[in-house]
């Protein structure tokens, strides 16, 4: 985490996102990485408002499956957004579904997530939900 008042560069945001995604795959989420009023909209877990709700939603996702792997294909960042292109693999009831996930994140200058949008293409999502 950057010091208070320190504006993160895009490469720093990318590195933070990479570590957060890796940890998130294991169900580990650092609450300090989110602003108090953070909002999340996710294909798997719906909408969550506020830091506690977002953290809970992110922790919940891996528990919905026997296996949950998020492998970043690429992570890009500019001053306003971080975008992660993720190869998602989930396994449930012995069936594995692979999908491409796009994660779009708004961050503040301290690198905290203020808004997170995690989208899986709906027809792949149906396969996951109908597993």
């Amino acid at each position: 985490m950057a010091q208070s008042g320190t504006k993160l560069t895009p490469p720093q945001k990318i590195e933070m996102a990479r570590k957060a995604i890796e940890a998130g795959s294991r169900g580990e989420v650092n609450p300090e990485g989110f602003s108090r009023d953070a909002v999340m909209r996710g294909s798997l877990v719906g909408e969550a408002r506020g830091r506690d709700a977002v953290v809970a939603a992110l922790k919940k996702a891996p528990t919905m499956f026997e296996e949950f792997q998020q492998q970043p294909h690429a992570i890009l960042a500019d001053n306003d957004h971080v975008v992660a292109l993720i190869n998602l693999k989930v396994k449930s009831r012995g069936k594995t579904v692979e999908a491409q996930q796009v994660m779009v994140v708004h961050t503040n200058d301290q690198g905290q997530v203020t808004e997170l949008w995690a989208m899986i293409e709906p027809e792949a999502l149906k396969q996951i939900q109908n597993r």
């Binding site: 960042a77 957004h81 975008v83 779009v104």
Partner: protein
């Protein structure tokens, strides 16, 4: 267009993609076409006629032209465009109208753009369920 052998910067690649969206919005598909390599591939998602792989410039431009003919009042508002060495990603607020009904969506376009600023491969992440409904109605 950059001279042969000149490697475009990330900002220049972003501008190429922005130019492509602007050209599509004004209906200049010839200008859009010039931004793709002859062997470019467009990966559409979902099970509609716009889903699947369109290989070659003619095929992907045909798909794009059909999209433009299928919908009215196509709006593509660029929210942001980001780039790194391998990808250009456009975040787009999109809406289309068909048979009097408007459908809004947030879409992500992922482009591979070569050093000369031409797109070699495109992936589109969008609400394909809504697209399917819009075609059924």
């Amino acid at each position: 267009m950059a001279e042969a052998g000149v490697k475009l910067s990330l900002d220049q690649k972003i501008q190429k993609i922005r130019d492509g969206f602007e050209a599509f919005k004004r209906g200049d598909l010839k200008a859009v076409s010039e931004l793709f390599t002859d062997d470019a591939v467009w990966h559409g998602r979902g099970s509609t006629k716009f889903g699947g792989d369109f290989k070659g410039k003619d095929a992907l431009m045909g798909n794009m032209a059909q999209f433009a003919q299928t919908f009215q009042d196509i709006r593509l508002d660029i929210h942001d465009i980001l780039a790194n060495d391998k990808h250009v990603v456009a975040l787009v607020n999109n809406s289309v109208t068909r048979n009097g009904k408007t459908y809004a969506d947030q879409q992500t376009f992922v482009f591979h753009v070569n050093d000369q600023g031409r797109t070699t491969e495109t992936w589109v992440a969008s609400d394909t369920e809504q697209l399917k409904k819009s075609l059924e109605n």
